[in-house]
Amino acid sequence: MQVFPFIVVAWILAVGLYGVVTSRHLVHQIICLIVVQSSTYVLLLGVGYVTGAVAPYFFDVPNHTPAVDPVVQACALTDVVVEAAVTALLLSFAIQAYKRFGTLDPQELAALKG
């Protein structure tokens, strides 16, 4: 159990990169990019976890209860919003690419662009 979460992190990264590299459809590629980024969330939160500790909220738990590390959660939060922003931008590029080239396959895009 000590190591298993990090093996899952490496697996998600590997699968995500495989998807990005072998994708023949831009939207599929962007979704695989989301999977690559989700590996960083699992790693961040996995690194900050403390066994037997509670969530870092003290409105109904005494102040100095041993809690999980809140800093990684703040970073993960920032990261989720960054993911949404970058994905929205990439999707707008994909729409424009479809309107200009009529196809969404990176292979054909490169050929058509010349």
Binding site: V9, L13, L17, V20, V21, T22, S23, L26, Q29, I30, L33, V36, Q37, S39, T40, L43, L44, V47, G48, D69, V71, V72, C75, T78, D79, V82, A85, V86, L89, L90, F93, A94, Q96, A97, R100, F101, P106, Q107, L109, A110, L112, K113, G114
Partner: protein, 644 residues
Amino acid sequence: MDQLLPLVVVVPLLVAAAVTAFGPLLRSRRRLLDLAAILAAAAVAVMLCVIMVRTAGGDQVYWFGGFRPAHGVSIGIDFEVQPISAGLACLAAVLVTAAMTFSWRYFERVATYFQALMLTFLAGIVGFCLTGDLFDLFVWFELMGVSAYALTAYRPEERGPIQGALNFAITNSVGAYLSLSGIALIYGQTGALNMAQIGVAVAKHPADRLVVVAFLLVIAGLLIKSAIVPFHFWLADAHAVAPTPVCVLFSGVMVELGLYGIARVYWSVFGQALGHRAAISHVFLALGLLTAVTGAVFCFRERHIKRMLAFSTISHAGMFLIGIALLTPLGLAGAAVYVIGHGLVKAALFLCTGIVLHRLGSVNEPWLHGRGRPLRVTGVVFTLAGLGLADLPPFATFLGKGWIEASAGPWLIPVLIVCSSLAGGAVLRVAGGVFYGLGDRPTEDPQMAREAAEETSETAGGKNRTPLTMIVPPAILVVAAIVIGVIGQLGHFVQAAAVRFEDEAGYDATVLHGAHITHPVALSAAGPTAVTATDVLAGLGSVLGALIMAGLALYWRRLPLLRAYRPSASLAASARRFQSGVVNDYITWVVIGLACLGGVFAFVIRLAGSVPPASDLTPRASRISHASPLLPAPSHNVVTTTRL
């Protein structure tokens, strides 16, 4: 505490928000918003100059929200400003000001977003340069990236920009996520996000495998951003299609920022713990050489002016990496001055290309042959900038390259001469062919012609006169490159800044214990910065080489021995196979590059026996303890330094 530091980042952000908010309201007085944006960028440049001069005496640390570190544990985010970081940010601000002044009359229909995106791009760069927190570095890296993606696709009517922007965005996003994984990894072991605190925590015991992997992952995103071979493929696509004022920033400062990031992460965080300085230096030297040569060769082959300038940027990125990889104060100082000189000169070249595109409507060199004669002033500025790129003595590029060669030793001189002459030769070939009609009409490479013809003018073009706002910025930039090259005691100032940049223990004491260090410890002896005869000879040699290469390229038909030479289809085909434009290939190359680098690092550091870092350098952890923290007086670091 100096209140200028947060303003330098927040002012462009606020003005960008204001420009977007008032855009729809002030439809009639559009020019007011453009002026406001340019003034904001200029104000940032002035503020950064003031900061740079003020930090020469000692680093400045600024804790946001007033959360100071308590006995070595930092809970807030800090800005840690040194002359080199402030100087790079100042260069970026100057280039943004020049680019926005240039685009005053350049775009036909400037939507309000252009100024806002340029200002957020500037804020991202300044934040990236000044921050002392690793996750903050990732956030500004991402802001700079997103602004760059949107700016690259700024003209969606064309086919090229969208495809270039997609390649750029996907490749750099993968790099950013790998960097974030590296940050999470090192946070897992040290429990700290502040660079100084991580450095101290990691330096306590010899580098174990986690530190090696974290170091490589963190610089993965930075290697991709600084277009080091084999991560450089996206740059040529993004450059060739981005609007010209945006290319000025991509080449002038964004590529150099990746290298600054690598240097900052190495010296402030991982340098001490990794140890094995000679081995790491050799690995990065090899990467730098490979990049410099590859960039130069591809640059000379290219007939699309913007793409050619992009490859010359890749070549120069390799040279900067060589300067940094020497790990000596003189090498770093040389790289810093070379970055500033190259940034100014390359920006002038791109702005002149923008003028050519504005007036003649194309960037296809064969088609433009001889058509540039009426653009006399642009021709002069372009040629001067081309000579600057080939390291002509009075230019800052020559000064920087001289120091790098002095620090590296004689073996580097021929390599840099070849690269500079190839890159400079290509630019001088364009200058001679387009503006002065020298040489014979080059054969049309059909494939590249189609690509360059794609680049229709960003404005109606065909105007008979170059507006003043378009020709003045490049002229000023070229003059600035010469002035910087001629300043007398520049060498002493930059070398002291480089020594301060490399002093890890001083950095920790300043950040974590508020010490004010005026005399940083030189890790290895500072070299002479006087301009020697060999430097001048090397500079003239590379200019001569550039002129010869340009002449050969322009007149090769008339030369007896070269007449039979046909640019072989195989060379073009093989180049096309690598520079394929398919983003899947680029990501594959990123994975290949990282796997190889990982293997080399693992072999060098782990298997070669973990030499305890203490023998290499002044151990930063122990020095902190005896440098009596919270010492108001400048702590005199009386520790013998071991020469490399």
